[in-house]
């Protein structure tokens, strides 16, 4: 079961994804973002699986000039970034939170 919980503080939206980060998760997150939000902090500690819908959503978010922080993304996330050849355009040191 994938669930998404969100907490908004000003322009920052903190999101916790449990289960999958897929098409449905993307739509749930989009429904909770308003134009004022420019920073996403996404906790993926309990996210087991991400697919291209999730990765492309994150990529587009960054390309639009927004900020992004990911907490413990699953290993498959890095495999997908590499397969789609997007890793070179991501500043992973900055995006992946300690």
């Amino acid at each position: 079961m994938n669930t998404v919980t969100t907490r908004k503080e000003g322009k920052k939206l903190t999101i916790t994804v449990r289960g999958d980060f897929n098409l449905r998760t993307k739509k749930l997150i989009l429904s909770r973002i308003n134009p004022a939000v420019n920073t996403l902090i996404i906790n993926l500690m309990d996210c087991e699986r991400i697919d291209s819908e999730g990765v492309i959503f994150l990529h587009r978010w960054l390309k639009n000039g927004n900020s992004l922080q990911l907490i413990e993304p699953p290993a498959i996330f890095f495999e997908i970034l590499e397969l789609l050849d997007l890793d070179r355009s991501w500043d992973l040191k900055k995006i992946i939170a300690d």
């Binding site: 079961m1 994938n2 289960g19 999958d20 897929n22 098409l23 449905r24 739509k27 087991e48 699986r49 991400i50 697919d51 291209s52 819908e53 492309i56 990529h59 587009r60 390309k63 498959i76 495999e79 997908i80 397969l83 789609l84 050849d85 997007l86 355009s89």
Partner: protein
């Protein structure tokens, strides 16, 4: 191949997660590593997402079908849907377009191909689209053992034929296997083959127990008077017909030439009768005649020769690998008398088919068939065997779209560079002679007759072979088997 589950699910994004979770757990249960099961489940996520987005862009109330299959060495998921046409080959991912133009077209299919070992797209025309995702179970060490197994079993068979037993067995019993025999069965295989037999399940008593319990496997075990197990022989019923395949025959080397195998075969035939099975089937490799000789001794008839049926393996007697994929003789033994059915025979093969029925002792009413109104759509099943790179197409019903659908399926399969394609046509369908003429352009050649093979009905098997075949090293034992071989060899040589 076992089918483990079929889901009919709505084209709703809510189902992506539960289907992926199921795929992951099922994959692990079938032997995938957790990492491979996760990757495979991501591939499934990508496929369902693409179907929802592109085949049913505005409708979440349609359904798609997902079937889960597994064999010893791979898992396969087949997804069928009837949505808007789209072709994965037309969506190629380009990372420059993704980065520069925000165009991610083809990303999902790239991940599917990356996370599966085999991905096939079959366009079935009006029957919709079919996607097949397969992942190999990592069994590298077992692969090596399989080669040893082939050599060792060949030598065991030869010695069984040529040598006297070391022990003169005065008394032994043969009984039907029960779940409590599982450990002894595993032990017989271990004592005979070490850990080199090609079906790993046979070493796992729990697997044997569950197969016996589920009646997936019937069989007999031979024991000495003191209870020691010395032989085992199984019959594995086929899912969609009242026939069964004989398999997993073993007698401990020290107790051969005592009639143990004969006694077990006789018991198996009795089991087949008690189960009301119509037919037993033996699949005999043609690198040597030993298995065919054993089958022939018990009255089996070779009815078909399936070319290039298994991948190359090393066999004793050849300095190098057997130089071509191994062909298999299909030997059938009728068990119960059957009704006299009408069979509709293509002119071209009428004689050889009738001779096959005669050899089997099956009485039929031959008919040339007739033109009749066809259904709007055809009903065709497809099975892909990834380890041997072969596919089986089974025609269940002819529709007016038959040639187009079959051509589309064949074209899709040919893109995967197969070893063989098999095509089963229903002999009890009055349209078969006519439809046979329409598919001449597809260049299938004869394979043989499969009595009671699908849905308790007889089928004509045709084959299309993509490897170079040297017929001189295909060893067929019976005269009639050799007649079938000659016919096939002629067609193979004359086929453009």
């Amino acid at each position: 191949m076992s089918m483990d589950a079929t889901f009919h699910i709505s084209t709703d994004e809510k189902i992506i997660n539960p289907v992926c979770d199921f795929t992951h757990s099922w994959g692990v249960n079938c032997g995938l590593t957790k990492g491979d099961a996760l990757r495979f489940s991501v591939a499934v996520s990508e496929l369902i997402t693409d179907i929802i987005l592109f085949a049913f862009p505005d409708d979440s109330k349609q359904t798609l079908e997902i079937k889960f299959f597994h064999t010893f060495d791979y898992v396969e998921i087949v997804v069928c849907e009837l949505g808007e046409p789209f072709d994965p080959d037309l969506h190629t991912y380009d990372s420059q377009k993704a980065i520069n133009d925000n165009n991610f077209d083809g990303a999902g299919f790239l991940l599917i191909k990356s996370f599966c070992d085999d991905f096939s797209f079959i366009n079935k025309g009006k029957e919709g689209k079919e996607f097949r995702l397969a992942k190999y179970v990592q069994i590298h060490e077992i692969d090596e053992l399989l080669q040893q197994s082939a050599e060792q079993r060949e030598s065991e068979l030869q010695s069984d034929e040529n040598q006297d037993s070391t022990v003169n067995l005065k008394e032994f019993s043969v009984t039907r296997i029960r779940t409590t025999d599982a450990v002894d069965i595993a032990k017989i295989f271990y004592r005979t083959y070490g850990y080199t037999y090609n079906n790993e399940d046979i070493y796992l008593p729990k697997k044997i127990e569950s197969s016996v319990l589920a009646k997936d496997k019937l069989g007999v075990i031979a024991r000495k008077k003191d209870g020691e197990a010395i032989g085992y022989f199984a019959v594995i019923p086929k899912n969609n017909s009242r026939i069964a395949k004989v398999a997993e025959a073993v007698v401990s080397p020290g107790y051969r030439r005592n009639g143990v195998m004969s006694s077990m075969m006789e018991h198996l035939i009795e089991i087949a009768k008690s189960r009301q099975l119509n037919m037993l089937l033996g699949e005999a490799v043609t690198i040597h005649p030993v298995s065919q000789k054993v089958n022939n001794k018990y009255g089996y008839t070779t009815t078909a020769l399936q070319l290039a049926s298994t991948v190359n393996v090393k066999y004793k007697g050849f300095d190098e690998d057997y130089p071509q994929p191994v062909s298999v003789a299909l030997d059938f033994l009728p068990i119960l008398p059957t009704d006299k059915n009408t069979v509709f025979l293509p002119d071209k093969y009428s004689d050889i088919i009738l001779e096959t029925y005669d050899k089997l002792g099956i009485d039929v009413n031959p008919d040339a068939g007739s033109n009749r109104h066809l259904a709007e759509t055809s009903d065709i099943d497809l099975e892909i065997n990834y380890s041997s790179s072969s596919s089986l197409i089974v025609v269940k019903r002819y529709g007016s779209d038959f040639f187009n659908v079959l051509s589309d399926i064949v074209s899709s399969l040919e893109e995967k560079s197969p070893n063989t394609l098999l095509l089963d046509l229903p002999l009890e369908n009055r349209s078969t002679p006519d439809q046979f003429k329409t598919i001449a352009a597809l260049n299938f050649i004869y394979c043989g007759v499969l009595p009671h093979y699908h849905f308790n009905a007889d089928f004509l098997r045709l084959q299309k072979v993509y490897s170079d075949i040297d017929f001189s090293i295909i060893d067929i034992y019976s005269d009639f088997g050799n007649k079938i071989k000659s016919l096939i060899a002629d067609e193979y040589r004359n086929n453009p």
